[in-house]
């Protein structure tokens, strides 16, 4: 297993991740199209399906340990306040209450980039952690929260990025409200020159709302100590990330902390970070000598466990008469909540189109509200809505069909680095998608429908990183009966990780998947792997799984060669056995081989290879939407969405299509209904449950058609997989917005596109 240590860099959520990693340098024969493969790419049923449909799947929410007690958190009632006094006496007297933590009796553990502590006397948003109660039952813990008397000194507060930018604005932290002290800036070429070259210069402004992840399983943890050893069950997208934060916060060696996530009920980015609640549970469990379970309730989740920050984006571009882009600028303002986070949305703006003169300026601003976190394609969802609406406007200015305009400004190389792409099949995606929606046949002149129901067709483009990269490992254990156990450096968040790892190993070793067990989400038994984010899991892990399986095959061949007394090149591996090519009587199965070798188990460790140098690695795609707008009610009905993407190889047709559906439907939620409403007068959130924060239901689902235009990206890795979880949501809102414009001839520049906005656009 040739290995080397390399410096590596790949795109993860909103930024590049640089690290030194051990990588596999083994080269395997390229897999061809999925038609030539046996298991990979096929519509395979999830191997975790049984657990999930039978109710036996144990989520952190279901963890129940002997003697377990329950903790709840008291959140701040005000958006900005100093806790003057906190009286826990009455609460402590309530029968069944075991302990209460506040800033006064808890170690000062730094949090959110050293901008606050686990418990801070200064609370900066509604819901900010004030105290935690642990009691014999959940009911008692909740009751005790009401008995804690907190004396707040209320401070003035800020609820919008506009407000945060004002010179006399309340400072949320001593060093001001702009994250990092100044905007993030990027430029290439010379925009002034570019605008001079232009025949038409146009600008417009768009805004997007705050959206909340709201996974179905609430954020929760359970903690149990055994002397110095701590086990944490956590509903997380990153068991190793949690382990590292827990051990650093509590001063424990990483070997003493085990984090377990066998199943988790959705995250969408909200569970990429370690929660304060996890540390609180661990502290309480140590004090009490009892297992402690802590759950954050739905209301608190809507307040403090993350959101997609809002944005106001001003875009400006110069074009030649023929539609060629000559210059582009973007200035964006995003309110990221009370602690440093990132709200930039320039990724698509900088990267999709060919334009040599470019400048972006992005302000991430702190306000007195729950802090933003990565939310499925952070920045790209908001950014693509604005960019792709704007591109349609430019096309109209130039008098060119929107699809034609995009092809005109198609970039053959990465505009940021000038590097070629490993693959870019966006043109093919445009073609497939436009054919499927009937772009040329069905799409009418803008606003030309008569009658009160008006139909329109629109499209938008998607770009994302999602190459994955090292370090990521998979350990393969082959039992003496020829069955296998796969330990993957990951956790499954519902995307099908259990299943594709088994598929890849089954593809190579020709062992049926029902003779495999996959183990994920246990930091003490699995090898290392990244968080489930950035659409990096399948592209990072699947090549490591192939590496482990190919090494296993080599081991078996080498063993068979010794046992059969034939050179390896006279042997052939087939269906978990080795045969002599020229002598049919000579063969050996895996169990026989192990028996002859007096072995009980073969073990191999697979690693991810390094990403190819001097290439840009991106996924691409386009969504095409057909909508019907009721011009009397302002309601937008989505009739059909076609999604066409270049995502490298599909590992599992069933789970990939499912995840596309999910992304598109969440995109519809973002486009039409989801919005956290923060009251500027009180600094409180008005909608913190499913009754008032609307998410799509089964009735909101249109006809959806998925096309994958790519096969394996063999330059990228030995499986050629690019990530697709985030690409699925990125262009939906933009495609819908453009379809609405095509229907009614008025542009909705603000998300969500609720009926009031549609009616205002039509009649004011």
């Amino acid at each position: 297993m040739p290995r080397k240590i390399v410096k590596t860099k790949y795109f993860f959520e909103e930024d590049y991740r640089e690290t030194i990693a051990e990588v596999s340098t083994d080269k395997y024969e390229d897999w061809k199209n999925n038609d030539t493969l046996k298991v990979v790419g096929k519509p395979v049923s999830r191997i975790d399906g049984y657990d999930k449909v039978s109710g036996t799947a144990k989520y952190t929410f279901d963890v129940d340990l002997p003697g377990m007690v329950h903790a709840r958190i008291l959140g701040s009632a005000y958006p900005n306040a100093i806790i003057k006094k906190i009286n826990i006496k009455k609460a402590k007297q309530l029968e069944g209450v075991l302990e209460i933590l506040t800033f006064e009796n808890t170690p000062k553990i730094p949090w959110y980039n050293n901008s606050t502590f686990l418990f801070d006397s200064h609370v900066r948003c509604e819901g900010d952690e004030v105290a935690a109660v642990v009691a014999e039952s959940e009911c008692i813990a909740e009751e005790a929260l009401k008995l804690i008397e907190v004396e707040y000194e209320q401070l003035p507060f800020v609820t919008s990025s506009n407000g945060a930018m004002k010179t006399d604005a309340v400072k949320i932290h001593d060093n001001g409200n702009i994250v990092g002290g100044r905007p993030a800036e990027y430029s290439r070429g010379n925009v002034d020159e570019g605008f001079k070259e232009a025949d038409i210069v146009f600008e417009d402004t768009f805004d997007t709302q705050v959206a909340v992840h709201n996974p179905t399983e609430v954020h929760c943890s359970a903690a149990n100590w055994d002397g110095n050893k701590l086990t944490v069950w956590d509903s997380t997208q990153g068991v190793f990330a949690v382990r590292n934060v827990v051990s650093a916060s509590l001063g424990l060696p990483e070997s003493d902390v085990t984090v377990i996530t066998k199943y988790m009920g959705g995250g969408f980015g909200g569970k990429l970070e370690t929660g304060k609640y996890t540390i609180i549970a661990a502290l309480l469990a140590r004090d009490l000598g009892k297992p402690v379970k802590i759950t954050v309730n739905r209301k608190q989740m809507n307040l403090i466990t993350g959101n997609r920050p809002d944005s106001t984006q001003s875009l400006k571009a110069g074009i030649k008469k023929d539609g060629t882009l000559t210059a582009m600028t973007l200035t964006s303002y995003s309110a990221v909540g009370a602690y440093p986070s990132w709200g930039g949305c320039s990724g698509p703006f900088r990267s999709i189109y060919k334009c040599g003169n470019m400048k972006t300026t992005e302000y991430s601003l702190m306000i007195n509200a729950g802090r933003a976190r990565a939310f499925r394609a952070p920045g790209h969802v908001q950014g693509t809505f604005a960019l792709e609406s704007f591109i349609d406007e430019l096309a109209e200015k130039a008098g060119i069909d929107p699809l034609e305009f995009r092809l005109k400004n198609y970039s053959e190389t990465d505009p940021n680095s000038g590097n070629p792409y490993t693959t870019k099949l966006l043109r093919e995606a445009y073609k497939k998608g436009s054919e499927a929606i009937g772009w040329h046949q069905k799409r009418k002149a803008t606003g030309s429908d008569t009658g009160y129901l008006k139909r329109g067709i629109g499209m938008a483009t998607q770009i994302w990183g999602g190459s994955g990269g090292p370090p990521a490992y998979v350990t393969l254990k082959l039992n003496s009966d020829g069955s296998a156990i796969i330990l993957g450096g990951s956790q499954d968040i519902g995307t099908g990780t259990y299943t594709f790892l088994a598929q890849v190993v089954s593809e190579v070793l020709e062992i049926p998947m029902n003779k495999m067990q996959v183990i994920l989400g246990n930091t003490s038994s699995i090898p290392f792997g990244p968080e489930s984010g950035g659409s990096t899991t399948a592209p990072s892990l699947s090549p490591a799984a192939r590496d482990a399986a190919e090494q296993m095959k080599n081991k078996i061949m080498s063993g068979a060669s010794a046992v059969l007394g034939l050179p390896e090149n006279e042997l052939i591996y087939k269906e978990a056995a080795v045969y002599a090519i020229n002598d049919k009587s000579k063969s050996i199965t895996i169990p026989d081989l192990m028996h002859r070798m007096h072995e009980q188990m073969f073990i191999t460790n697979g690693a991810r290879s390094v990403n190819p140098e001097h290439y840009a690695i991106n996924s691409f795609g386009a969504h095409f939407a057909e909508v019907e707008v009721n011009t009397e009610t302002g309601k937008i009905k989505i009739l059909k969405i076609v999604a066409a993407h270049d995502i490298g190889r599909v590992l599992n047709k069933k789970t990939v299509e499912n995840q596309f559906h999910g992304g598109i439907i969440q995109g519809i939620g973002f486009a039409l209904m989801e919005e956290r409403i923060l009251d500027a007068n009180t600094g409180k959130v008005l909608n913190t449950d499913f009754h008032t924060y609307k998410i799509p239901t089964i009735q909101d689902v249109p006809e959806i058609e998925i096309h994958v235009v790519s096969t394996g990206d063999n330059l990228l890795s030995n499986t050629g997989v690019k990530g697709m979880g985030e690409p699925a949501i990125i262009p939906t809102a933009g495609a819908i917005a453009n379809a609405v414009y095509n229907a009614i001839g008025k542009r909705i520049k603000s998300l969500p596109m609720t009926p009031d906005k549609v009616l205002n656009a039509l009649y004011s």
Partner: protein
């Protein structure tokens, strides 16, 4: 101090009883009312805390328990009977995550007091199985991949079962109606639809 905790406890029970919410379809209005109502009762109640005895059938077996009267059916199933297949997602009747069958009809078990289920037949996701063998609806959800993270799945499966009990050959509209109270944030909806249609087709 003890009294205060009891008051909340009883108020919730009285309220939920009062409006008699239980069947899916009453999701929308109930949770908002319940918050107001809790406050109203908080002041008035002074009853002392006692356990109540309760008998009902769960998955075909008779269950007799002593419970605090404020216990919801979901809490009884999950905490007392350790049937954790039933999930709690919103805990206020808005999402269908806690759906179980009560006398053959889908109810939100988080929004129903256990004592209001006295004497009834409750079927949970665990009760659909025969030993380790899956029910055809459960099989359909695997076959058609009607799930992602799986957390909403028990509720979805039970809602589907309720539809099929009412009408073994439901129309597409009936399925959409019947499933629309069950939220899935992963939005596996198209495959959930396929799964239910496939399960219904087995009855044709």
């Amino acid at each position: 101090m003890k009294d205060k905790s009891k008051s909340r406890v009883f108020s919730r029970r009285n309220f939920v009883k009062g409006i008699g919410t239980s069947v899916i379809g009453t999701y929308a209005a109930a949770p908002v009312l319940s918050k107001f109502s809790m406050k109203i009762f908080e002041e008035a109640e002074t009853e002392s805390k006692t356990k109540e005895s309760l008998s009902l059938h769960v998955n075909g077996k008779k269950v007799s328990v002593l419970i605090e009267p404020e216990t919801t059916l979901a809490e009884l199933l999950r905490n007392k009977l350790k049937l954790t297949g039933t999930k709690i997602i919103c805990n206020q009747g808005e999402c269908g995550g806690c759906t179980v069958l009560m006398n053959g009809k889908a109810v939100s078990s988080c929004h129903l007091l256990a004592i209001d289920a006295a004497g009834s037949e409750i079927i949970t996701i665990e009760g659909l199985m025969s030993g380790e063998k899956l029910h055809p609806i459960q099989e359909a959800f695997i076959e058609h991949d009607g799930l992602q993270c799986g957390f909403c799945t028990p509720g979805q499966v039970m809602a589907a079962q309720a539809i099929l009990i009412k009408n073994p050959k439901p129309s597409k509209d009936e399925i959409l109606q019947g499933m629309s109270g069950n939220l899935c944030r992963c939005a596996a909806y198209p495959n959930i639809m396929k799964s239910v249609i496939a399960a219904a087709d087995k009855n044709k």
